[in-house]
Amino acid sequence: MKAKAPFSTAIAIGFGLLTLLAYFLPNLLGFLRDLLIEWALGIVAFALLIGVVNLLAVHWRKVRSGAKGVYSAVLILSFAVTLIVVAWNKPTGQWSLWLFDYVQIPVEASLMAVVAVALIYAAARLLRRRMNGMLWVFFITALLILAGSAPLYFVQGVDLQGLRSFIANALAVAGARGILLGVALGVVATGVRILLGADRPYSG
């Protein structure tokens, strides 16, 4: 069920303004703000549960339709086993941690290792693309950061770590601060648009 646009917009703007005013009037509206945030945390947790149910429903439909249902069946089966083990053994139980240590972590770490190989392959083929000045800047910077991340075999007398520290503490910080300022302005603009009703992500 979806609320009508005027009603949902009024609720969003009203509670948004209350939360914003609580920053300026913490003694007066602080308790109301904390109450609203607690409600929001419960709603978000419930939303996560809804997301899990929706994921299972999608893959269940795929299993019933028969189109590539093997992968969906594996997902549903894994979910069911994990849910049963964790529910029975609690999240910090021995079997629960075993699943995590010997299934979850190796799978995700293997994917990261593949990513490492793909990145090296892409860096090697980078120079085959159309070359320009910025490409050379990117390529040389990546090599310097890698070389300065750890002491290298057979490389003595070159302070690569100092060069890496300069790049990370000066050049990268300068660029990162620009990015962060842009992000902050974007967040403010998004908040204002939501408070004014220009953006209504809650109404679909």
């Binding site: 090697a124 070389a147 750890a150």
Partner: protein, 678 residues
Amino acid sequence: MAEIRCTNCGTVNPAGAKVCKSCRADLVAQSGDSGLPDWLSGLSSDDTLPSQPASDLPDWLSRLGSPSPSELSGATPSAEPPSGAPVPDWLSEITPRDKGDATVPDWTEELGITAAKAEEPTQPPATDEPEWLRRVRARQQAEQSQPAEDFFSAEPPPSAGAAAPEEGLPDWLSRMGQSEAPASRQEAFTGAQPFAQFEPSEEPPAPAAGAEGLPDWLAGLGEAASPPPASSSTPAFTPAFTSDADLEDFILDASAESETPPAVSAEPAELPEWVSQLSPDQELPEPARPVESAAEPELPPAQLPSWLEAMRPVESAAPIVSFRDEKDTYVESAGPLAGLRGVLPAEAEVARQRKPPTYSVKLQVSEAQQAHLAMLDALLKSEGQAKPIASAGGIAALPLLRVVIALALALAVFWTLWSDLDMVAMPSPDKTPAEVGDLINWVNALPPQSPVLVAFDYEPALSGEMDAAAKVVIEDMMGRQAHFVTLSTSPLGPMVAEHLFGLIAETQQVTYPHRTNLGYLPGGPSGLFGFAANPRSAIPLGLSGGDDWQTPPLQAVHSIADFAMLLVITDNADTARQWIEQVRPWLGDKPLTMVVSAQAEPLVRPYYHTGPKQVNGLVVSLMGSSAYEARRGLLGLTRAYWDSFSATILVTLFLVLLGGSINLLLAWLAERKQTGAV
């Protein structure tokens, strides 16, 4: 030519005239015996006044001296034109007719002005008449012995009789002679044949005055006017001959010449030039017409003198500039200005009803924009289409270079792990980074058994890097007997925390008892803010399901500032930023420290380099943990990974440089081949 003014009637008579052409007074007697004074007599004498050509007189004076009909009647025309002054045919034809019809015109009869009546003696006035008038009347009575017809009875020669040919006359003149039948020579001259020759109009001359042809005003005069006295009858004809002064002069001269042959032998030069060029055999030319005049040779343009040219108006000398706006094609269609172009519209432009212009609905899109649009459309369509997964073709189908890269990396990692050679030395404690040194100092400042909030916000995929970086910091805090309170904004965070503590317990062979796992904190930034504002309300129960807030030392924690330290372990820059922005203001003077991955370092380090540091201590990946271990003199997981890490980076550099060089060479060869082909 000297003229003689009649003292009786004031008419100016030509020189040599013996009687007044108006009142028939004896001019000779007037000149000899008259009441005029001597000076006036001398003025009228030809001896005293030099002869002056009539042409030199002004028009007004010529009109004053224009002969009256009575004067003309006194000048008996000669029967034959003088040899020296040929008379034109029209004149020779007119004269016999005048003889035969020497009667008063009909219209004069209608007016009561007949010759017979003019012969009647006028009754002298009773008593008031002056003496000079009586003398005039006496002369008139003396002359009455000669009837008026005598003036017109000059018989022309038989050769110039009434049957004179009229072929040379124009049609209108012939009709006039047949139908109008002018009664007198005077009326014949009123036909104004010479005048007609100069008259460009094609209209025939006015018909002779008849009973019916008279205008109303003239007929009215005839009915109302009583017979005028004889003395005033002759001047009544004057207006008929004063229509053209030149004509009258000419006729008068011709009459005088015909009357006195010796005198008529006067120079032909006295005649008008056009008259002298005429011959009896020459036909009268047609009246000049405007159209025919155009056929005549053009006259040379007049040459204005320079001073007169300079006085010309500017408008005539300046070029005519057209002020019409050629762009204005509006033509007025109504009103008095209809048909004119360029007039101002009477009504406003907007008030007119017109058909609205038609605009094309087709967008003006350039080819580049169309190409971009097609590319975007194809991209969007591809998003909704499931891409078929290429079937794996076995080992042979794998790219060779990727396999080589994977094998090289695996060899470097496993060889160093298995060799356990410690080929690469740990960083020197003297070169500990500042952020690592700050974190060490904050850990050393922890009170014993103080609560430390640790956030495990990294994914299991990066546990290899993050576990090694965080393990040394956690173990150092364990040495301070810190009470760890763990939570995570990631659903897998609580499991990651248990994994790390389990790893430490495995290393130390002892399970650390002072820790509380609060589990998962939902809500992202909002959840962090809520937890920072009121931790107990945000997470009332721990992961174990019990009220962990009631266990020591959490009993004294009511706000986040009650924790001795906040340590955030994350591999995500956004997560680190959320912790800094939402929680850091609630910590007060308590430190916020972080253990981050190498990929999150660029966006986290700026918070460390701020004025009041928002991040009080920082450990970055294995580099930071190696420095931490070196500084603390510990042998942790970093030392175990250090050789493999160094070897892997070296292999990576070698592969990137080798592959880059080969691809650069291939690209150069391809470009050279393409250039050579061109």
